[in-house]
């Protein structure tokens, strides 16, 4: 019996070869499907990572540590005291957290009025540490004119392009920021425009002003406090694990609260899930059609060989072994073509699109989705997850598409089969 088990793959392989043209056609469909999967996943993952990254960098990081009331109130009253801030920073210095953290940005945000000689516009002023923020927020790289804030800056501001247009500001212009300080008094702060950015996100370009953290603290009279500690992790995949670790550390304090980006920006998460879901549906459709083609091929190969299976059964092959021959045949067909497709898909994506697929021809203006400007150039990302998914798909389709034909093969009546003439 062991001998016949060993013969099974050879039997199956022979059959695949024997019907070379048919196998080639089905294999081509499979290969094309997997290649498409690899291609679209690489681009999809690339777009999503860019999207999440843009979202968390524009927003409050993968993890935001704030005072419990701040997320709802956005009020300076709900700020982190110096002591709470220090505690949160210590929590992030724990070795198991610190090694995954890329950057920690201390921010002091306040609603304010930006005044020029002819107009006044409500804005969100963020006090930032330029050295950290340059790496953290993408705004630092979207300089349209002038430069980003620097370490030695004090009375400098980095403003959005639309705001600059409306207030008739250019680099070097005077700007007065007015807000209610920590003591309730209205305080004005003079700054000069050091740089102007254009992010493509209308809300940001018309409503964000960044100034050095120390200037903001002095202006608002909040001492060494801040409103948000934004944490950027090395990868978006470890957020929930890290949030839990941080929560454990700060668990006992009622003046600290850690939010994951999904909690801080639920609409961004929803947007990504929608897009993901659309991808999955598409893949199911694609592989549904491919699976049907494979079912047909394998089924036909079974029906053509009714006589052969009859002989095999007569020679003592069990039902399970008969079925195994068929399944092995299906799996070999899908595996070979699938792996080929994966290789082709990855190679194709790498050769033609490693520098990005440019969508900008389709879109004149920026495309915003859940508060993030999508880059019109998508850089593909190759993840093991994508490879695993492709392999899984290949295996599942190979096995499942063979099951029905295999079942048919076991149902062959030996006596009848002998009369069968293909």
């Amino acid at each position: 019996m062991t001998a016949s088990w060993r013969a099974l793959p050879r039997l199956a392989l022979r059959n695949v070869r024997r019907q070379a043209r048919r196998s080639l056609l089905t294999g081509a469909a499979m290969a094309l499907g997997v290649a498409l999967l690899a291609f679209s996943r690489a681009l999809g993952d690339g777009a999503h990572e860019d999207w999440i990254e843009a979202g968390v960098r524009m927003g409050s990081g993968h993890i935001a540590i704030q005072s419990p009331g701040y997320h709802a109130s956005k009020n300076l009253d709900d700020r982190l005291s110096f002591e709470a801030l220090a505690y949160a920073n210590r929590a992030l210095e724990r070795s198991d957290v610190a090694e995954r953290v890329v950057a920690v940005a201390t921010r002091l945000e306040v609603q304010a009025l930006a005044q020029g000689p002819t107009a006044a516009i409500p804005v969100m002023v963020t006090g930032v540490d330029p050295d950290v923020e340059r790496e953290f927020s993408r705004l630092g790289r979207q300089v349209e004119d002038g430069r980003y804030l620097e370490r030695g800056d004090r009375l400098h501001a980095y403003v959005g392009a639309r705001l600059a247009e409306r207030l008739e500001l250019r680099v070097g212009s005077r700007l007065v920021l007015t807000a209610q300080g920590a003591d309730g008094d209205i305080a004005g702060q003079f700054v000069r425009v050091a740089g102007i950015f254009r992010s493509g996100l209308p809300e940001a370009d018309a409503g964000i002003v960044q100034i050095p953290l120390w200037t903001a603290r002095e202006w608002l009279g909040v001492g060494e406090s801040a409103t948000t500690l934004a944490v950027l992790l090395e990868s978006g995949w470890i957020v929930s694990e890290m949030v839990n670790t941080v929560r454990e550390t700060i668990g006992t304090r009622d003046d600290l609260r850690a939010l994951s980006w999904q909690e801080a920006m639920p609409e961004l998460e929803a947007g990504i899930k929608v897009d993901d879901w659309g991808d999955y549906v598409f893949h199911v459709v694609l592989f549904g059609i491919i699976a049907l083609a494979i079912v047909n091929t394998v089924l036909m190969s079974v029906l053509y060989r009714t006589r052969e299976f009859g002989v095999l059964r007569a020679l003592g092959l069990t039902q399970v072994q008969t079925a195994s021959v068929v399944v092995t045949e299906g799996v070999i067909l899908t595996a070979v073509s699938g792996l080929l497709g994966l290789a082709v898909g990855v190679a194709f994506t790498w050769i033609f699109f490693r520098n990005g697929l440019d969508f900008s021809a389709f879109m004149e203006s920026d495309f915003t989705f859940s508060g993030v400007v999508l880059d019109t150039v998508i850089i593909p990302v190759f993840r093991w997850r994508m490879v695993a998914m492709s392999l899984g798909t290949i295996a599942v389709i190979g096995v499942f598409a063979s099951l029905y034909p295999a079942y048919r093969a076991t149902q062959i009546d030996i006596a009848e089969a002998m009369k069968f003439e293909a």
């Binding site: 609603q111 304010a112 009025l113 005044q115 020029g116 000689p117 002819t118 107009a119 006044a120 516009i121 409500p122 009375l155 008739e168 500001l169 250019r170 070097g172 212009s173 005077r174 700007l175 007065v176 920021l177 007015t178 807000a179 209610q180 008094d185 209205i186 305080a187 004005g188 702060q189 003079f190």
Partner: protein
């Protein structure tokens, strides 16, 4: 201490010296002209805009740069409406609904009572000489008058929006003739012209000033002082929310 009262023709008033003053002292004097230690004035404000024009009669009390109270007497629709400025806070009293409202920071740039002054203009508490470096940029005769022209440049860290202010003062009686506010690019943003110099409350004052925004030359706000008395001994307690509401006069 504030500079002493200005020389006038009125016999009751204390004379002062006109000579030996620095540019800063002159500008400061002009800045304080209509304030004094404390003051009470009856003022008419005429606002002309592209879409409407109206005049408002009001009473105005002030104490130094920290406190002021403005109560509208006419037109009847707005009568009783009052604005209180106490340090950096600005409150409005609305008689129609009998409520006081503290203006949020986001409205500091908004117009005060439809005029070409912003709420922020009212709240500014610092003296010009604290915020600006002052130099004389012209000294001589213009239009038959001996005048000084001062250029005021904001001190490096002052929270003011203007790129510079240029002011002309005539030497004869140290009356301001005009003030021009420039933006960063050196363009005039708004201008103020003074006239009808006369003695009121023991001081020579410009009884009329006209503010014109440069981008809308057909619009203007004119302020006409009908009476003004200085140093009437007001206390900070006068500038209270309770007083804001009370219907005096």
């Amino acid at each position: 201490m504030r500079p002493t009262a200005f020389v006038t023709a009125a016999l009751l008033c204390v004379p002062a010296f006109l000579h030996a003053q620095t540019a800063a002292e002159i500008v400061d004097r002009v800045d304080q002209l209509l304030r004094g230690q404390s003051s009470e004035a009856s003022v008419r404000m005429e606002v002309v805009t592209e879409h409407w024009s109206r005049s408002i009669d009001m009473h105005l009390w002030s104490l130094g740069t920290d406190y002021s109270l403005i109560r509208i007497d006419a037109p009847p629709k707005d009568a009783g409406t009052a604005t209180l400025k106490a340090q950096t806070e600005l409150w409005n009293y609305l008689p129609r609904v009998d409520r006081t409202i503290k203006l949020p920071a986001s409205l500091m740039g908004a117009s005060w009572m439809g005029s070409h002054f912003t709420n922020d203009d009212l709240v500014k508490e610092s003296r010009i000489i604290d915020d600006y470096d002052i130099e004389i940029t012209f000294d001589g005769e213009r239009d038959g008058n001996e005048v000084w022209e001062f250029t005021l440049t904001p001190k490096p860290e002052t929270a003011v929006v203007w790129g510079k202010i240029v002011e002309q003062v005539r030497k004869r009686d140290m009356m301001p003739e005009w003030v021009r506010y420039y933006d960063d690019l050196g363009e005039v943003s708004r201008s103020m012209v003074f006239s009808e110099f006369q003695v009121m409350g023991c001081r020579m004052v410009p009884a009329r000033m006209v503010v014109t925004p440069a981008d809308k030359p057909t619009e203007s706000t004119t302020i006409i002082y009908r009476t003004i008395t200085f140093d009437i001994g007001l206390e900070p307690s006068f500038f209270s929310l309770r007083n804001l509401r009370s219907q005096r006069d």
